[in-house]
């Protein structure tokens, strides 16, 4: 395998890792506050549809993203009501939200667009286009030179190839997702809010005794989770692909959940685990590369199942131990 092919695979990995990363960090906020969220998938799916629909009507990807965030936050509020206010079962609430999103998106899509549960294709400014960083070889250079882009990159030096192929040319949401990692780390480990958020996931009674509202903290975590899932969904339908199709999240919310466990609920580890799972997804699209590399054929079904298998192995504690926040999935009852 030559250097350029490697770069192309890594480039695809980054694209595919972005929605995982956003959803994974979303889950991180929620679970660190003690609210387990298996409804990441549903929130992403709802956001993907409403982003695509709003972007189609307005012709503006940013308006689309706001609509997506709105839909995702609405579902997050339902989850908050069920698991914080009414102290219900957080897992059951998450399951309900996943199904609600799976059904509602198709129902509304059919009612609005009558295209069998999809939105019309998005073009132009209704999508988040690639950003060409300065000095990188991008489509505009290729147009100016009148030669195909792939040829120009292939002729460039390795450093320029690395920069143009892997670093440059992503949509703005990819860079935003990467920036969210240090931001989350800073917020959780260097601010008062973050300390309290982590404390409420470990020992809510202590936080309550200190005079800080458990309910408020958990709601804010659940709402941040909603916003990040909203961006993840918007990325799926307005950046990675051009429009919404039925069930387009395809289990990504659960892979993000797996990545979160793999990362042991830490933001920087989350980045690495999402990139790893993104790489698996990228290789699933290019099975020929593994065949060339190792000399034998690898089952693509195995590659697809690898994130789940790895998560089970991690959960089983055979490679390190993944210990969730202590108070996760337990509703807080102020007085007994």
């Amino acid at each position: 395998m030559d250097f350029l092919t490697l770069l192309q695979v890594l480039d695809t990995s980054v694209r595919l890792a972005t929605p995982l990363l956003l959803a994974c960090l979303a889950g991180l906020y929620s679970e660190r506050s003690g609210v387990v969220d298996i409804g990441l998938e549903g929130k992403m799916l709802a956001a993907a549809f409403f982003s695509a629909a709003a972007a189609y009507y307005s012709g503006n990807a940013w308006v689309g993203m706001l609509a997506g965030i709105g839909a995702s936050v609405a579902l997050a509020t339902v989850h908050g009501l069920a698991s914080i206010t009414f102290r219900g079962n957080q897992l059951i609430s998450g399951v309900a939200i996943n199904f609600l999103a799976a059904g509602m998106t198709v129902l509304v899509a059919q009612s609005w667009f009558k295209q069998g549960g999809r939105t019309p294709s998005l073009t132009g400014s209704a999508r988040f286009g690639p950003i060409e960083l300065p000095f990188a070889i991008g489509p505009s250079d290729a147009e100016a030179a009148g030669r195909p882009l792939s040829r120009m990159i292939a002729e460039a030096g390795p450093l320029q190839q690395f920069y143009s192929e892997l670093i440059s040319g992503h949509s703005i949401l990819v860079y935003l997702a990467l920036l969210t990692v240090p931001l989350t780390w800073w917020l959780l480990f260097r601010t008062r809010f973050g300390l309290r958020l982590r404390a409420v996931g470990e020992n809510p009674a202590a936080v309550d005794t200190a005079g800080v509202s458990v309910v408020w903290l958990r709601y804010s975590a659940v709402l941040i989770c909603g916003v990040l899932c909203g961006i993840a969904g918007a990325y799926l339908s307005t950046a990675l692909q051009a429009g919404f199709v039925k069930d387009m999240t395809a289990g990504r919310g659960f892979i993000a959940l797996a990545a979160l466990i793999f990362a042991k609920w830490r933001p920087v580890y989350a980045l690495w685990s999402c990139l790893l799972f993104g790489l698996f997804q990228a290789l699933e699209l290019r099975p020929d590369i593994i065949t060339n590399l190792t000399g034998f054929e690898v089952q693509i079904q195995l590659l697809g199942a690898l994130p789940y298998i790895l998560t089970v192995v991690i959960l089983a504690g055979f490679i390190g131990k993944a210990i969730p926040p202590k108070a996760s999935a337990e509703p807080y009852i102020k007085e007994r």
Partner: protein, 364 residues
């Protein structure tokens, strides 16, 4: 003293939750510009007013009986088995292997063999998450979710690479032998003059599902094991003190749960398609969650809830056929039922409890 009488807990609360779910479903139908009354009429006509409609309703109900019982047995041990879908898929593999490689002389023997195959494979798929929960403390909800995806990948691999007949294009096994054909309701109840259940897939497996209901009732309320499962579900420390092994109960409850989920495939794979196909479960494993929640984990409640969801499924198919409402309406209704009977249970329960307490005060 209880906050409210038992009948209110068993009948009133589920009815209020169901009413709320129905109310919001009606709002959804209104919002997409259709009439909820018309929709309900169509659903009833299509699912209950003809014998073939009943044939479909009961066929779907058979699936939901098995998966609903599976979820409720696990719930009694306070384990949330969200992996019914995967266990049913692997159960289907068991059915297919038994039907393909054993020369059965008669369907009555074949259905026994297939049930054993399905239950063993389904239980096996639940064993690993159960063991990890019991011994290593890995959360069973997460592991069973992961096992759903692993099951889908495994089934895909087996169908594409191993069981697919040479030269066939679609990922499915070969057709089972004719001797394994299960009598459908049409075969059983039609007479020469009056054909009944024409073309409907309901088959003898329905009675197997009813037997499973009785089995679960006896198991949970009339055996020592059932007592241990319930005790463990009520209080793990209390059960431990009484000498009940948490490891044993976790593993056994999940084995039974997985076995029941797996047996759903006897209905779909042997009774309907008569070969193993991808996605024969069609989400029935997840509907089991809604069915168990609505049925309050009691076999009779599960039976009623399974019939209701069978009706919704068949009615939903009719709606999709005659109106512009897609089948996904059922997924929305299912979500609302899970939301109101499961997650928002306290929202319904607390006001009702308050009313009962107020009434009691006035009387004394």
């Amino acid at each position: 003293m209880d906050k409210m009488p038992k009948w209110a807990d068993i009948v009133l609360i589920p009815l209020i939750s169901l009413f709320l779910a129905a109310f919001f479903s009606a709002l959804v139908i209104l919002a997409i510009g259709e009439s909820p009354i018309e929709a309900l009429k169509l659903m009833i006509d299509g699912a209950l007013m003809r014998s073939s409609g009943w044939g479909y309703t009961l066929y779907y109900a058979t699936n939901f009986l098995f998966t609903g019982l599976a979820v409720s047995v696990a719930f009694h041990a306070r384990l949330f088995n969200i992996g019914g879908e995967g266990q049913a898929m692997i159960g289907g593999l068991g059915v297919a292997l038994v039907c393909l490689y054993v020369p059965w002389p008669h369907w009555s023997l074949a259905i026994l063999g297939a049930s054993v195959g399905a239950a063993c494979f389904g239980a096996l798929w639940a064993l690993i998450p159960a063991y990890l929960q019991a011994k290593r403390g890995s959360h069973i909800v997460i592991t069973t979710i992961m096992f759903n995806f692993i099951a889908a990948a495994l089934l895909n691999y087996v169908l594409v690479e191993l069981l697919r007949p040479v030269g066939a294009m679609d990922p499915a096994s070969a057709k089972f032998a004719a001797a394994t054909h299960l009598p459908s309701f049409q075969d059983m109840f039609s007479t020469a003059e009056t054909p009944m259940f024409r073309g409907a897939p309901a088959n003898v497996t329905f009675f197997l599902a009813l037997a499973a209901c009785v089995f679960v009732w006896v198991l949970i309320w009339r055996t020592r094991l059932g007592y241990e499962i319930r005790a463990f579900g009520q209080s793990e420390t209390g059960a431990k003190y009484a000498g009940i092994s948490p490891v044993k109960i976790t593993v056994v409850a999940m084995l039974i749960s997985g076995g029941l989920a797996g047996m759903m495939s006897v209905n779909t794979t042997m009774g309907e398609t008569e070969r193993l196909i991808l996605n024969s479960t069609e989400g029935a494993g997840f509907i089991g969650i809604a069915v168990a929640l609505m049925g309050r984990n009691h076999p009779f409640g599960v039976f009623l809830a399974a019939i209701l969801f069978g009706f919704l499924y068949q009615g939903g198919a009719e709606l999709a056929l005659w109106t512009s409402i897609p089948r996904e309406l059922i997924v929305v209704i299912q979500a609302l039922v899970i939301l109101f009977t499961g997650a928002l249970d306290n929202m319904v329960r607390e006001p009702v409890e308050k009313i009962f307490i107020a009434m009691r005060r006035r009387n004394t």
